[in-house]
């Protein structure tokens, strides 16, 4: 695990160094925008390499299920896709149903939950906080 984290840190360091390489480093008294990021990225690469080559330190591995993780990610990406044009209510329906699918054994009492959360969302976000999210898709309401 430590080898892998060292490798990831090194790769991230290389990516940041590549991004900051062409920025002006400035002088000692007048640092440019590239000095601090390049210095940090270079140090990150060194630490990443040292970490990857160091003696192994055991760390506790936490298991996770791919299905649940992917379903939650689909829920959030779907939310981002829908919220600007489908309106809050349809987005809420999609998000709640897909989030429930993350645990297929949990789909029970869904209607009650969805009705409650949609009502809460309309009250909290639209009425109380006045956030600019359409309630329904513009093609339906206008």
């Amino acid at each position: 695990m430590q080898r892998l984290s060292g490798l990831i840190v090194t790769l991230l360091g290389v990516a940041f160094l590549h991004q900051s390489w062409n920025l002006n480093w400035g002088t000692v008294t007048k640092l440019g925008p590239g000095f601090w990021p390049s210095g940090l990225a270079f140090s990150l690469i060194v630490i990443g390499i040292v970490s990857a080559l160091s003696p192994k330190i055991s760390s506790k591995y936490q298991s996770f299920k791919l299905w649940s993780t992917l379903t939650l990610l689909v829920t959030i990406i779907g939310y981002a896709y829908l919220v600007t044009w489908a309106g809050l209510i349809l987005t809420a329906l999609f998000s709640l149903l897909t989030a429930l699918m993350a645990r297929l054994d949990s789909v029970d009492g869904t209607t009650f939950v969805i009705a409650g959360v949609v009502l809460y969302s309309v009250l909290a976000f639209l009425i109380l906080l006045g956030i600019d999210i359409p309630l329904w898709p513009p093609s339906i309401c206008c």
């Binding site: 695990m1 430590q2 892998l4 984290s5 060292g6 990831i8 840190v9 991230l12 990516a15 940041f16 991004q19 920025l23 000692v28 008294t29 007048k30 440019g32 925008p33 590239g34 601090w36 990021p37 940090l40 990150l44 630490i47 990443g48 970490s51 330190i57 506790k60 591995y61 936490q62 298991s63 996770f64 299920k65 649940s68 939650l72 990610l73 959030i76 990406i77 939310y79 919220v83 600007t84 809420a92 998000s95 709640l96 989030a99 429930l100 993350a102 645990r103 949990s106 789909v107 009492g109 939950v113 959360v117 969302s121 909290a124 976000f125 906080l129 006045g130 956030i131 600019d132 999210i133």
Partner: protein, 494 residues
């Protein structure tokens, strides 16, 4: 003179109308703070247009109530669900959430409430005693002092964590680099944007924290959760005598740290709560408990957070220098009402300052009365079955993150940091150094550049300035302590 000023504040504050506005402010603040991602910024922004139609004092009282009410509200979800309501609560997650997992969620919430109260009251005392001296203390801090204090915080978080030292240092550096993404404030040049246009304005802290702590935790553990009812029980809410002693001591230290950091422009509640956490960890005899449910890790940062939120009013009102975005809103409210904050405010409009002082005391008492009896209700959240809780959290978290800027890119950031948080958990890496690096990275670079520039115009050697010299001495001491402990450990192993 002091008593006369306090009497003036009491006279203005103790009317049925102003008390009602204060209660309304702290209630709205708590309710908005509880929603993950929505903090004081959103609530205060929404309230600002309404203040046009109100008189100055009621508007200021309500705005202040929303501000410190949401500071407490944010710690409720941080404690129970590992989802900080606002950035300053992120540090509360580190020990309060493990306490909830151990069945001590009630104690964590009660500690947070009482520590916030302590922080609030002690900050008021500091404001009253040092009101006029605060401006002098503020002027003692130049860019070099800010840089050295921030460096101390980063060194402390890297080397005091007893896990992998190299991983901690690399996470601090990575956090700083992520914090630097955006536009360079000195030259206006975009940097580290990887060709992504939306990164030009940087990564917002809300999606970063929500992703790293909230979504990361959910992605990692969703398959473990009990579907019908959660196995975690919030348990009792009254701490034991030993817990009380430990919490009170760290609450007092946190209040002092928060009072100082709040008064320094450009620091704010988030840095204050991290500073308190670091101090507790550095000085505690129970350092091994940190990250696993140490009560000091809840009391100190919560007291610091609330104290800072109140002393932050001092530079805003007396210098006209707002320390964080929320103070900019307070300043905007004053300007809308035709009041210019600055050194003459304490003379020309003394009633504003002293009414706020009394408002803080009454508001904090209201918060305590409002929240202690509700602890049972809040802790019942952890027993809500999965079928109700987690889909709701995912949806509310997305809406909260989206609502910050009405920007889809924030949700993309949420997913990115959620996956990053998942990866960190898989690799056994602690997220705290990363978050602290992210928070401190940009201001540290800014202060270093300004300090070096100022030094080039002066004969004074930066490292001989008293605060800088003391801080650097502390950094060297910490590194030596860590080196000695590591050497002893290696000898013991052999």
């Amino acid at each position: 003179m002091l008593l006369e000023n306090l009497a003036l504040g009491l006279d203005t504050m103790l009317t049925a109308t102003n008390l009602t506005w204060c209660l309304l402010g702290v209630t709205i603040g708590t309710l908005v703070g509880v929603i993950p991602g929505l903090g004081s910024m959103i609530a205060m922004s929404m309230f600002l247009p309404l203040s046009y139609h109100m008189d100055l004092i009621p508007a200021l009282i309500t705005m202040a109530g929303i501000y410190y009410g949401s500071q407490y509200g944010g710690s409720i979800t941080a404690t129970l669900l590992n989802m900080p309501g606002h950035p300053a609560s992120a540090v509360t997650c580190l020990d309060a959430y493990p306490m909830t997992q151990q069945g001590r969620g009630g104690v964590a919430l009660a500690t947070a409430a009482v520590a916030s109260f302590m922080g609030g009251i002690l900050a008021v005392i500091v404001m009253v005693i040092l009101g006029s001296y605060m401006t002098h203390i503020v002027f003692m801090f130049g860019p070099a002092e800010y840089f050295s204090v921030m460096l101390l915080g980063l060194v402390a978080v890297s080397i005091l964590e007893r896990t992998n030292l190299l991983a901690n240092i690399s996470m601090v550096m990575l956090g700083i680099l992520f914090g630097l993404i955006g536009t360079d404030i000195h030259t206006g040049q975009p940097r580290l944007t990887f060709g992504i246009e939306q990164l030009g304005s940087g990564i917002h802290i809300i999606p970063m924290i929500m992703g790293l702590f909230g979504l990361g935790e959910m992605l990692c553990r969703i398959s473990d959760y009990d579907i019908r009812s959660r196995s975690t029980h919030a348990g009792r809410w009254i701490p034991t005598r030993l817990e009380t002693v430990r919490a009170v001591k760290s609450g007092l230290r946190g209040s002092a740290i928060g009072s100082v950091f709040g008064a320094l422009p450009g620091t704010g509640c988030t840095i204050a709560s991290f500073a308190s956490y670091m101090w507790e960890k550095m000085t505690s005899r129970h350092a091994h408990e940190f990250g696993r449910g140490a009560i000091e890790g809840v009391a100190g940062p919560e007291a610091a957070n609330n104290a800072a939120s109140q002393t932050a009013f001092v530079p805003t009102l007396t210098l006209g220098v707002p320390g964080d975005p929320m103070m900019i809103l307070i300043m905007a409210l004053l300007l809308i009402q035709g009041i210019s904050p600055g050194p003459t405010l304490m003379i020309d409009h003394a009633n504003i300052f002293w009414t706020l002082v009394v408002c803080f005391v009454i508001g904090n008492v209201m918060l305590l009365i409002l929240n202690l009896p509700l602890i049972k209700m809040w802790t019942s959240i952890v027993n809500i079955p999965y079928v109700v809780l987690y889909p709701t959290i995912v949806f509310v978290m997305c809406t909260g993150v989206y609502a910050v800027n009405n920007n889809i890119f924030d949700i993309v950031s949420l997913v990115f940091f959620g996956l990053f948080g998942l990866m960190m958990r898989q690799l056994g890496i602690n997220a705290t150094p990363f978050v602290l690096g992210f928070v401190l990275g940009a201001p540290m670079e800014d202060n270093l550049r300004r300090a070096l520039l100022l030094a080039s115009y002066s004969d004074e050697f930066v490292f001989t300035r008293p605060i800088v010299a003391v801080t650097i001495g502390l950094i060297i001491m910490l590194v030596m302590i860590r080196a000695i402990f590591t050497r002893k450990k290696v000898y013991a192993q052999h």
